[in-house]
Symmetry: C2
Subunit: 331 residues, 2 copies
């Protein structure tokens, strides 16, 4: 055991050395936001300091849509569900005459939007059940490998925010365990979170449906059934954190009113806590929206952040670049 | 990044060195069971070998009651619930005349047992709700720090199986991420799993109730409400693995029919998989029970293990010691 301790100490030393030399957040402009993040991490990582937090308690939770990747003009998972309605339509002749499927198939997204949340839930439920978890995972991966964003014309996984990828890396280099806590479907996100964010499936928390264990061709399978198990949004976020993680994060980032309770819950942590919001202020490079947006509405959480002194990222001024450098072959 | 790679290589080297010298499972008698475990770990860890599994895919799931600690003569969590009925009785005058509480308060456990599962569920629901998650956690920790097992007269956390503790350590030393997947209540187990097994709260999966986010004295809290969210037993185990982990384990250990589906699910993994059962065969040092036991019944899963060649631990012959060496002050 002594050898292990020695090697761990060496590892820590090398890691520190590597960090001291380079800017850990090169895609963030210098300024108070970047400084607030670095100051926070430095303080809680300083052994013997008044704000020191043991590595085992360094938990960070991130919302996904609008916090780690683009959510405009429509949540990516909903775009996937709409595409799936089209793909599966020939197995469902009844959809031709039944809304919301009829409007989706007719390409009338305005009519779909007018049906509100009820229509969205029906579309997601119908396309996210009736298959094994393995088949669903395969379908998600295939879709993500080919579907392009209407404005940027690249894969959705190319529309993650480079500054946030750097932040995730920076936190992990400082002993944090990073989690996604999103209103999105957990199995949809698990299809790309590991490769895209370096977050393994068991650290992805999201809304989830019921699965049923059974056998198919004498092999054990889990079937996705059209029944909601857990909605991970709003107050569901701290509830989900308790359900899946069982302890409070000390660091959390969101971008909308759906993240308000997660940030409040984080603010009640026993240590020095960090609460951050991404404010979409960059119509030229990404999107500008907040209080009046249907997707990713940021209103009450923004007021609370301003009142309580949480860190608010001004995307236009704080981020030097928005997206990762283009990969060859992904366009 | 190169420095980090170098330090990691050093760490790996030191770890290997430490292992080569010592028996990783000193509380296991030499024989086919111990050999099966060591052979398995050696094969999947051998880089370039035909059965190699990348560290990120090395997931191991363990049942808790009867697999990691004693479950006789009664599940520990149920003993806790019964004690809580007595503690909370003065706040519930109606319990004096209402079963199952009336019988518990009269000390008539035979009558309680005769009420079957319904009575147990009522007792657990009543004592596991109506407080904040933080208060419940505190109550569990206090109880575990003082309550003694009726036969062994030591704390329940002293009645973990030393050979299984060594197995958990051995797997982690070989890159495994270890999880508990138990029918027991997740918040009860999280009160001791970290300290006792080295398994952090977020890697503890169990049955769970609904919590509700709200405020109390202007502070955010989660209230435990008497509503079941998820039952992690039988087919609920693979369903829970999917819900919480999102991928299949390659190594699983249980001890009863409630673990059958978890072991089947593990057997369907894409790699070389390991399925193990603890068979309680030692009435002198622990307990001997299987097909006819009310607690921890092992019948169908034992047949399946024998048919399919899963590893069955014969407690009496395979384990040199059962419990960890006594700690001063814990008796």
């Amino acid at each position: 055991m002594r050898r292990l301790a020695l090697a761990s100490a060496l590892l820590a030393l090398f890691t520190l050395g590597a960090e001291a030399g380079a800017d850990p957040l090169p895609s963030w402009n210098d300024g108070p936001t970047k400084q607030a993040i670095i100051d926070y991490v430095t303080r809680i990582a300083k052994e013997g300091g008044p704000d020191y937090v043991a590595p085992k308690d360094r938990l960070a939770t991130f919302d996904n849509d609008g916090t780690l990747w683009v959510e405009q003009p429509m949540y990516t998972q909903f775009v996937f569900a709409v595409d799936e309605v089209k793909t599966q339509a020939n197995q469902h002749p009844e959809w031709k005459t039944k809304d919301p499927f009829k409007s989706v198939l007719a390409g009338d997204m305005k009519a779909v939007a007018a049906m509100g949340e009820k229509g969205m839930v029906e579309i997601v439920a119908a396309t996210h059940s009736g298959m094994t978890t393995a088949d669903f995972d395969q379908t998600v991966r295939q879709w993500l490998a080919t579907a392009k964003h209407p404005r940027f014309k690249v894969l959705y996984t190319d529309l993650v925010y480079q500054p946030m990828i750097e932040l995730l890396d920076y936190l992990r280099a400082n002993g944090f365990k990073t989690f996604i806590v999103s209103g999105g479907g957990v199995e949809f996100m698990r299809g790309f979170a590991d490769k895209t964010y370096g977050i393994p499936p068991e650290q992805v928390i999201g809304s989830s449906g019921v699965t049923q264990y059974g056998t198919w061709d004498e092999k054990p399978v889990l079937i996705k059934v059209p029944k909601v198990l857990f909605v991970d949004d709003g107050p569901g976020k701290p509830e989900g954190i308790e359900h899946f993680i069982g302890r409070q994060p000390i660091f959390a980032f969101g971008n909308s009113d759906g993240d308000k309770e997660m940030l409040e819950w984080t603010a009640a942590c026993e240590h020095l806590c960090f609460m951050g919001l991404v404010h979409h202020t960059d119509a030229a490079r990404e999107y500008a929206y907040d209080r009046n947006s249907d997707v990713g509405k940021l209103d009450k959480a923004l007021d609370e952040a301003l009142t309580k002194g949480w860190t608010v990222v001004d995307m236009k001024n704080d981020w030097k670049t928005i997206f990762p450098p283009a990969k060859s072959g992904s366009k």
